[in-house]
């Protein structure tokens, strides 16, 4: 599993409309299942989470947690 930030940035990046489509996504809401856990990396806790491997319940895959993510277009003052 990868650090959760990588998964989340990937999810947000997937919202970009195709080049030249003249469309813009200004906000999005995602309800996504995640396989994740807080594990020890280099002596400190890190939240690792990825999208589920499969829809099937295998019994040996990590439990699935439901995440709710809302992203929006940021204004300039939010940047700093």
């Amino acid at each position: 599993m990868r650090p959760f930030a990588e998964t989340l940035v990937g999810l947000v990046a997937s919202l970009d409309p195709p080049e030249g489509s003249e469309l813009a996504v200004t906000s999005a809401t995602l309800d996504v299942p995640l396989e994740g856990s807080v594990v020890e990396v280099h002596g400190g806790p890190v939240f690792v989470a990825s999208l589920p491997h499969t829809r099937w319940r295998s019994g040996f895959l990590p439990p699935v947690h439901m995440a709710h993510v809302e992203v929006c277009e940021a204004s300039v003052e939010d940047e700093g």
């Binding site: 959760f4 930030a5 806790p45 709710h68």
Partner: protein, 282 residues
Amino acid sequence: MTGDGGFLVEDFLDAVTAQLDRTQDALAAKARVRPLMFALRTFSIDLQVFVSMDASGNVRLRSSAPGEIGASTLKIDFTTITRPMVEENTVSLAMAQAPTLGEAGLKPEEELALRRVGVQNVAQLQALRASGAGVDGISRMTSGLVPADRLRAALRLGRPMVANVVPLPAAGPAPAPAPAAPETPASPPEIVHIPRGTRLLRFNGSNMLAGPATPVVRLDGRPLEHAQAGDDGLEVHLPDDVRGGALEVDFGEDDEPVRYELRVEHEGNGHVADAWAPEAAR
């Protein structure tokens, strides 16, 4: 982390928030090369965890492993907040810089008992006592785990202390630092000599920010503006026309302010400089 893989709740939540911070940073960096910028507005997750309590009484969380059943669901909601909301919900810097309970001589189990009632350091202990809880009341809040005399000792050790007062920057020979603050209010105030033209006065000490508020320094009753305030020292601006007077540091506690008498020296030897005097005599 413990042997069963559990983390303290604060460490567990820090791990999640650190990833959200990294996400925001990555999205902000991406916005520098793309016209549209996204930001996380809300994030919530239902985490399957096992909750346990270690021998010290700390609650620990462990993510459930594959195939495990009976996990608890920890619902966490994160949202973006404005700067005023951050300031409103954050302990003040002065409060955060105060001596820890351990530094004030309390044992780890006593620290833990106080943390459970929201007291992390001596300043918060002072604030709780001053709020009307009293030392005996605080002891009762900890179910007697921290006796009242131990609390009083910690409050004494954590009290603000002024070691000496020096002018800044040193103009000419620096006057000898004044001894520690008088113990009894009835004793005459110590005399602090400063060279003429001194603009800054520094109070060296310890636990200077341990009181309920930032200390107030007054000269003849007029509050002096702070140039810098830290736990080990406090610097104040002196007025242009300072001619000495009654100097006091008020830590905002029940105790009397620490008093000094400020005297302005002339040319460092106590005599007014005489422009017509022989060079060797100046």
